[in-house]
C-alpha cells in the first residue's frame, strides 16, 4: 500500500530530527498522537499538532505520560495508527503500559529522544542510556523492536518503517533516537506519496462470529479488528487464550500447561531475521569491528578514519535495529575478527550483548561516555588501536579510559569555579 498524498508534505527541507519525525509519523498514516511535553522531544509533538488537523489526524496533550500511552493503545484498537513521543523520564513512566501493549498486541510506536540520565539528568543534552530499558523495562516477558536512526532524514524514513513494523508484528516499536539527532538540522527529502510504502493493518475479513482476537497466523501474529464493529471483543491485560479470555490461576498438578505469552516473544524471536536491519562497511579484511548505532555511529566514522590512517584494518557494523539483537551476525564476525569496539553514550549497555554474542572468540572494548556530549573520535581511534594490538583474550568488557574521564578525575578539573 502507498501513503496517502494528503499525509505527505513532499519536498526538500532543512529541518531538525524531531520535526522530521513528526512529518514521518503523518506520512506513515498516523492518525493519533497522545503526548506530554518533555525536553528534548517536544518539537516532534509540536510539528504533529501543527500538521495533523489538515490531514484529519489529532494530537492531544494528555495529563501525563501514563495517560499518553494508555490513550494511544485505546486509539490503536479503535482502528488507527498511533504514536507517542517522549524522553527518558517519561519513558520510565510508560513501562507498565508497554507490557500492556505487548499483551493486548496493540500496534503502536514510541519515539524516545534520549537525553542524559539517570533521573532528570541533563535534559537538554544527549544520551544513549535507555537502550537496555527499551528491551527490559517492563515486568514480565515480552519482546520489542527498537530502531536507532542517525540523522533527521532517517528519523523521517525510520518513523515510517517503525509504523510498518508495528502493524506487521503487532508489538510496541521504539524509535530510540537521541537529543543530538533530534536537534540536528540537516537536509531532509520527503519523497512523493507514491514512493512511500505503507504497511496496512492486518484486518480480519472472515465471518464475525468466527473471529478470535488472539488466534495467530502462520507468522504467529494474529489479525485485528476495530472496536465498535460488532465483534463483541473481550480484550484483557491478563494472560488470555485465543478468545481473549483470562486463563485461570494455578497450574493443575501433574498437567502440562504452556502459557500463551510464549507466542509474544516467539513472534519476534522467530521472525528476527526478517526484522533485523544492519549496515556494514569495510568488513572484508577487518581485524577490528566497531559496532555502533545512532549518533555514535556518525562519531565512530571519524574515529575509524583516524585508525585507518594508522594502517589498522577496521570494519564498521551499524545496528539500525538494535532489538531484536543480531546474535548470529555478531557471532559470525567474532570468529573472524580480533576484537569489537563499541562506542556508546552510556557506561555499558549494548556492549554486554556484543560480549554475550561473541562467545569469548573476540575481545570487546567499550568506549563509554556518560552523556551530555558525544565521544571524542580520538578516543575511539585509540581504542581501536589498542584492540588491534592486544594479543591476550580478555574475559571481560574492557572499559576504555576516555580523555574526558582522565580530564575530570585526573586532570584537576574544577567543578565549582
Amino acid at each position: 500500500m502507498k501513503a496517502n498524498p494528503r499525509d505527505v508534505n513532499s519536498g526538500t527541507y532543512y529541518m531538525d530530527g524531531d520535526v522530521a519525525a513528526g512529518y514521518g509519523a503523518l506520512a506513515a498514516g498516523c492518525r493519533f498522537i497522545g503526548g506530554y511535553p518533555i525536553t528534548p522531544s517536544t518539537e516532534a509533538a509540536e510539528t504533529f499538532a501543527r500538521i495533523a488537523p489538515k490531514a484529519g489526524a489529532v494530537f492531544i496533550q494528555m495529563e501525563d505520560e501514563l495517560g499518553s500511552i494508555a490513550s494511544i493503545m485505546g486509539a490503536s484498537w479503535s482502528g488507527v495508527k498511533t504514536m507517542t513521543i517522549t524522553s527518558g523520564p517519561g519513558y520510565s513512566l510508560m513501562m507498565e503500559a508497554i507490557g500492556l501493549g505487548a499483551m493486548i498486541e496493540a500496534p503502536f510506536v514510541i519515539l524516545n529522544i534520549q537525553r542524559g540520565g539517570p533521573s532528570t539528568g541533563v535534559p537538554t543534552k544527549t544520551g544513549q542510556a535507555d537502550m537496555m530499558q527499551a528491551r527490559w523495562g517492563s515486568h514480565g516477558d515480552y519482546e520489542v523492536i527498537a530502531i536507532a536512526p542517525d540523522s533527521p532524514q532517517e528519523l523521517f524514513d525510520y518513523t515510517i518503517k517503525a509504523f510498518n513494523l508495528a502493524e506487521k508484528y503487532r508489538c510496541p516499536v521504539m524509535i530510540m533516537s537521541d537529543e543530538c539527532v533530534g536537534h540536528m538540522s540537516e537536509k531532509v527529502v520527503i519523497p512523493p506519496a507514491e514512493e512511500i510504502e505503507i504497511e496496512p493493518r492486518r484486518f480480519y475479513n472472515g465471518p464475525k462470529e468466527k473471529y478470535l482476537p488472539f488466534k495467530p497466523d502462520k507468522d504467529l501474529v494474529p489479525k485485528m479488528v476495530k472496536a465498535g464493529d460488532g465483534y463483541n471483543l473481550y480484550i484483557t491485560g491478563l494472560i488470555h487464550d485465543e478468545r481473549g479470555y483470562p486463563i485461570k490461576n494455578q497450574i493443575e498438578k501433574g498437567k502440562s500447561q504452556k502459557l500463551p505469552t510464549r507466542r509474544l516473544v516467539d513472534k519476534i524471536r522467530l521472525n528476527a531475521d526478517k526484522i533485523i536491519e544492519l549496515a556494514e562497511e569495510g568488513m572484508d579484511d577487518a581485524e577490528v569491528v566497531v559496532v555502533s548505532y545512532g549518533i555514535s555511529y556518525r562519531v565512530a566514522i571519524r574515529g575509524i578514519e583516524i585508525a585507518r590512517g594508522k594502517g589498522i584494518k577496521v570494519g564498521h557494523l551499524r545496528l539500525i535495529t538494535v532489538w531484536p539483537f543480531p546474535d548470529k551476525k555478531i557471532n559470525e564476525l567474532a570468529s573472524k575478527v580480533k576484537a569489537f569496539v563499541v562506542p556508546e553514550i552510556n557506561y555499558g549497555q549494548v556492549v554486554f550483548e556484543v560480549e554475550r554474542c561473541s562467545h569469548g572468540q573476540a575481545n570487546v572494548v567499550l568506549v563509554p561516555h556518560g552523556g551530555a556530549g558525544v565521544h571524542d573520535p580520538d578516543d575511539i581511534a585509540e581504542a581501536i588501536e589498542y584492540a588491534a594490538k592486544e594479543k591476550k583474550k580478555i574475559r571481560k568488557v574492557i572499559e576504555w579510559k576516555t580523555r574526558l574521564e582522565k580530564f575530570v578525575f585526573e586532570g584537576g578539573y574544577k567543578l565549582n569555579k
Partner: protein
Amino acid sequence: MNPIITAFTNGIKKSGLELSKVVVVSDIPFEPEVIKEIGVDFFHVTRGRAIAFGTGLKLGNPDLKIVAFIGDLMTLGGNHLVHSGRRNMEMLVICVNNFVYKEIAGTLAPSVSPGFSAFSTFERPFNAPHLANSCGAIYTARWTAMHTNELANSIANALDKRGFSVIEVLAPGPNFYKDINQVNYELLDFYYKNSVTKNNVDTRNVEITSEEKIVTGEFTDKEKSPFIDTYNAQLGKILGDKFIPLGGQSGRD
C-alpha cells in the same frame, strides 16, 4: 449476578444505543460470559488507566460510546478522571466504590485491615460526585448497588448525554478490585437502608460521613460542549476549509 452489572445491562438496553458501538473499558476483570451476553466490546486494562485508554478509543473513532469502569476508587486513575472531566471528554465513568467504612457499618463491618480497602480506614474518602462536578463533569450521580432500577435509569440518562458523566456506585466488598463478584450482601443491604435519595442537591453536601445518612441521587445534570465539538469548532474557526473535522467520514481511512 452482580447487581451493578444487572443495572448496567438494563441501563444500556434502556438507552437504546446500538450495542456494537458501545465499548466498555475497565480495570476490573469482568466475566467473559457477561460481556458476551451484553454484546459490547470490552477492554480490561492496567489499573487506573481505563479513562485514558477510553480517551484514545474515543478520539480514534468518535462514533464510539465509551463506558469506563474504575474499580480503584480514583486512586491510581484520579488524575485521568479530573483531566477528562476538565476536557469534557465524552464518556461515562462508573466509579465502583468498594471502600469499607468502619464507622458507618458499625458492627456489620468485617474487620478488614486498612491495607485491604481502597483507603486506610482512618482516611477521609473522596466526595466523588463533588470532585467530578468541580472538574467539569456534566452529569454526576451516586447510588448503592442495591438501587438497581435507579442505577439503570441513571446509566441510561448518562449515556444519553454528550460529555463526561460520573456515576459513583457504592458496592462494599472486601477485595472488589480482585473480583467483581465478591459482594458483601449484608453490608450492601446496610448501605441501602442507610441511604436517602436527594436529587439535584449541591454536590458539596453529599460527603459520606459517619454521622449522616448516605445521600444518593442524580446531582449534576448540565450541558457543556463536549471535547470533540470544542475541538472541531476551534480548529474549524482558525483553519477553515483546510481542517478535516474529527468524526467526519473524510477524516478517517
